[in-house]
Symmetry: C2
Subunit: 199 residues, 2 copies
């Protein structure tokens, strides 16, 4: 199975997925890393990992639809069957979701449905929760909403800052995302409504 990983920044989840593939834990190939930001460190990672990368910038297209059509052409060229969003900072349009229905995964630094959006870690600290976590889910038309594949909780400590909490959350992400991808690649996920059953 050919996988594409989408990044906009550091790409540490991309790295974790690539490492897991290289260790033989995921029986798939990362055929493409798609990046929308020329300054993203993910591009340097792809080079070092010898993974093909596509830098495609929104500003070079008139509309979001044309930008996404450009992305899709490249995905089709590589026969991509699974897309893993890994810190990709653009919302995927409903048309894109439809084209790759139940084939787009995302990782979110909170226990969804709590703390949707791009400031989850800060929001969780501000709300004063004692437990937060990480969610891997399928992407549907609504933001941070699709069926949940895996979740893992972690405790917030009295003296946690946004930085210290983010560090522990990222560690969990780097374990949880490859696990979820492995389940997908091995065909072990069955959707019953919103509920993802693992075989």
């Amino acid at each position: 199975m050919n996988i594409a990983v989408f990044c906009s920044g550091n790409g540490s989840n991309f790295q974790a997925i690539a490492d897991s593939v290289r260790r033989g834990e995921i029986a798939a190939k990362i055929a493409l890393m798609v990046c929308d930001n020329p300054k993203a460190f993910a591009l340097a990672r792809a080079k070092k990992l010898e993974i093909k990368s596509l830098l495609i910038e929104r500003k070079n297209f008139k509309t979001k639809e044309e930008f996404e059509a450009g992305v899709i052409r490249n995905l089709e060229k590589e026969s991509i069957e699974l897309i893993c969003l890994a810190g990709f900072m653009r919302l995927i349009s409903p048309g894109f979701v439809q084209r790759y229905r139940n084939k787009i995964l995302n990782i979110h630094p909170a226990l969804l449905p709590a703390f949707k959006g791009t400031r989850s870690i800060k929001d969780a600290l501000g709300y004063g929760v004692k437990v937060t976590g990480v969610t891997v889910h399928l992407v549907d038309e609504k933001t941070d909403h699709g069926p949940i594949i895996l979740q893992k909780a972690l405790e917030i400590k009295e003296n946690d800052t946004e930085e210290s909490l983010a560090g522990r959350i990222h560690e969990i992400e780097h374990e949880l995302y490859p696990q979820a991808i492995k389940l997908f690649v091995e065909g072990k996920l069955n959707l019953a409504g919103r509920r993802a059953k693992i075989e």
Copy 2:
């Protein structure tokens, strides 16, 4: 410190709190169990535990305000300094919250802010989360919203039903609620905005 526990039904959390007090874990007295439902099993528990109970029915008062004034008179008579809602099925009015500001605890069968309301366990299963839990929080003017004292997560199993999940959640409740009450009674909670720090 004199505690009142408010119940509308079975009263299993009331029992857990009373057991914890009896074991000497909480240095306080349950001076009153307030119940709004003549059919509640909590009444029989209070009798067996030799804890004073007040059955006070909403239908015997013209307005919610008069009903709550009747409750408050009884709380004042017993010099209550902490109220523990334990399956009490009525919403507390803002006036009541104001009278006992930061002295009302509630337990909720989910990891707030996820799955507020009275059908949390069913809602969590329906949403397909893999992790849920229990929250003890201070009651403020908004439903299931006040500062969080303690939370504990638990994993949802593939074959969980509402019943099996509720069973495990209740076990956690019976541990977590006495722990939170103990922290309150010992003056170990410090509020910094919404964030409850434990000394």
